[in-house]
Amino acid sequence: MRSLRRRGGSPWTGLGTVVAKETADHLSSARMRILEALLFLTAIAAAYAAIRQIRATIGESPFLFLRLLTMAQDPLPSFISLLGFLIPLVAIALAFDAVNGEFNRRTLSRVLAQPIYRDALLLGKFLAGLLSLTIGLLSLWLLVIGLGLLLLGLPPSSEEMVRMLGFLVATIAYGGVWLALALLFSVLFRAPATAALAALGTWLMFSLFWSVITPIVTSLIAGPAEGVLGPNLRFLQVQQIIDRLSPNTLYAETTLALLNPSTRALGPVLVTLSEARSMVPAPLPVTQSFVLIWPQLTGLVATTILIFAIAYILFQRQEIRA
């Protein structure tokens, strides 16, 4: 009987209203302002330091603008590694109390007593988080480009613009993964503090400890790194697979290939000497860079969808009453 049942009405009824309300909440919340201040200050400092470095050392480079984002100068990390570190924090802060907050404020039953499905509420919350994140990132991105224009005194080439746009999209996709994860925890745990801790724990694991965990797990699966006849190939392969389970790795590889056009491959390259000689020692064209990062980008989006789907199923099964 249940399988034959079809719900009347669109699952998207009320989606726009939820997105508008949640986005307005995010943009006016003190939490969001603090995080954006943190993000803007550090990222602009990093970009500014890179600009000074570029002006002092390098005269000419075909991709000057991209170096703005990738160059690190002590004690500041580069713009992209800073983003890779801070974006998850912002995304988690946007969503860790999305669903459990409604439960605890006792607003959920009131909202769901209106003619909308739960689908609209959950998706609306996710989209609102993504929109807020995008607004913040877009303004940061424009600010850095403006800074580069002012201080370097030359406009980015069209190729650089395409690469930087790709970088922006990848950053949003990366934020999406963490947003979906935080949303999942907000469905899973009734206490927002627990959800925040769980999400932050995952973030710490991937951003700090994953590089420690990976070799240990790899050697358990594939044996020691150094074989009798030199490096253990299987070790390298397994290590790469495990490494890429982390969204941080996927994002780092994506930004590397996009913003550093001379990147020809991600991971170990096995070529014979003659093959290596025949390779053209030039930066890749944009299209080829995109081909290179396509799996990574798809992986980020797919992870987001997967995590969101899990959150969705759990939310559908949850009882409304506290």
């Binding site: 049942r5 079809r6 719900r7 009347g8 009405g9 009824t13 009320g14 209203t17 939820v18 309300k21 404020r105 006792r106 607003t107 039953s109 009131r110 909202v111 769901l112 007593a113 209106q114 003619p115 909308i116 499905y117 009882e319 409304i320 009453r321 506290a322």
Partner: protein
């Protein structure tokens, strides 16, 4: 002025694991009728309400609310039903206006309708002075009024109020009950769940008593009294001297005699026996008074659950 049936539940059942939360509940409510839902905590009242609203799926059974099946067309049902949850909450940092505008937009009202109805609804619940204040500044009683305003804004054909008077002072409670009568006057069917039996008795046309997930009793208070107390008539007798309980019990038609303290006794009888009692007692004892006591829901409730406990023990 009961009209068409707007709520019809047939053998509605909800099972959580091995526990039957709601067990084959049949319920009918007509337009313009106020039905009180009673029962101890955990007896299945709120679960039944949630199933009628389409917020929880029944394990089996069917329901029809405002002409739609909450399982198949939850949106149509929710468009026509106003719900005041037992523990109501609002977005604290938003004004009352913004809070209600949000749910009203979700309900599909236009901006103009929202403005008009908001003013009217707030006026009716007596909050028009503070409509633009943030909800943080509201007392619990004001929140409950605001919740009712939300229901009013929807102009529902069914209003479901889950323990709406819990946090109210006696004066506000009376006002609140008047507002509920106002809903009835507009032809709205009202389901009122409450633990305050005297309030339920004063406002409800019919009463449904839940016990262990079953609908144990339903009907008007007089009907329930007839069923539970044995007779529909309750008479208080006050007299000095003599073995009053024994004398009273000997009168034909007396179902039960209960001491009320002092020289007062409460007598349940099948018909109005005041005359008989006076004739029989007057020669033997010093009669002070005989009063006709209307059956109270409190008594029905207490007696029913005392008997239910005895049956288990």
């Amino acid at each position: 002025m009961p009209g068409d049936t707007v709520i019809r539940a047939e053998a509605l059942t909800k099972r959580y694991g091995s526990k039957l939360a709601v067990d084959h509940v049949d319920l009918e409510v007509a337009a313009g009728e106020i039905v009180g839902i009673l029962g101890p905590n955990g007896s299945g009242k709120t679960t039944t309400i949630l199933m009628l609203l389409g917020l929880t799926e029944p394990t089996s059974g069917r329901a029809m609310v405002a002409g739609f099946d909450p399982l198949r067309d939850p949106l149509e049902v929710k468009r026509r039903v106003g719900y005041l949850p037992d523990q109501i909450g609002f977005y604290e940092n938003m004004s009352a206006r913004d809070n209600l505008a949000y749910t009203a937009r979700l309900a599909g009202l236009t901006r103009r309708e929202i403005d008009e109805r908001f003013t009217a609804a707030l006026d009716r619940v007596g909050l028009s002075e503070v409509g633009d204040s943030r909800v943080t500044t509201y007392s619990q009683g004001m929140r409950q009024r605001l919740g009712l305003a939300e229901v009013l804004m929807k102009r529902p054909s069914v209003a479901v109020l889950d323990e709406p008077t819990t946090a109210l002072d006696p004066h506000s409670t009376a006002e609140f009950l008047d507002m509920i009568r106002g809903l009835k006057a507009e032809g709205t069917a009202v389901l009122l769940s409450s633990h305050h039996l005297d309030q339920v008795q004063s406002v409800c046309d019919r009463v449904a008593l839940f016990h262990n997930g079953r609908l144990a009793l339903s009907g008007t208070v007089t009907e329930l009294a007839a069923e539970v107390l044995g007779g529909g008539h309750v008479i208080d007798v006050e007299a000095h001297g003599g073995d009053l309980p024994k004398l009273l019990a000997a009168i034909p038609g007396v179902v039960r005699v209960q001491a009320l303290g002092g020289d007062r006794y409460r007598v349940d009888c099948q018909s109005d026996l005041r005359g008989d009692i006076a004739r029989r007692l007057a020669p033997k004892v010093d009669l002070v008074g005989i009063y006709f006591a209307a059956p109270s829901l409190n008594e029905v409730y207490a007696r029913y659950f005392a008997e239910a406990r005895d049956a288990v023990a």
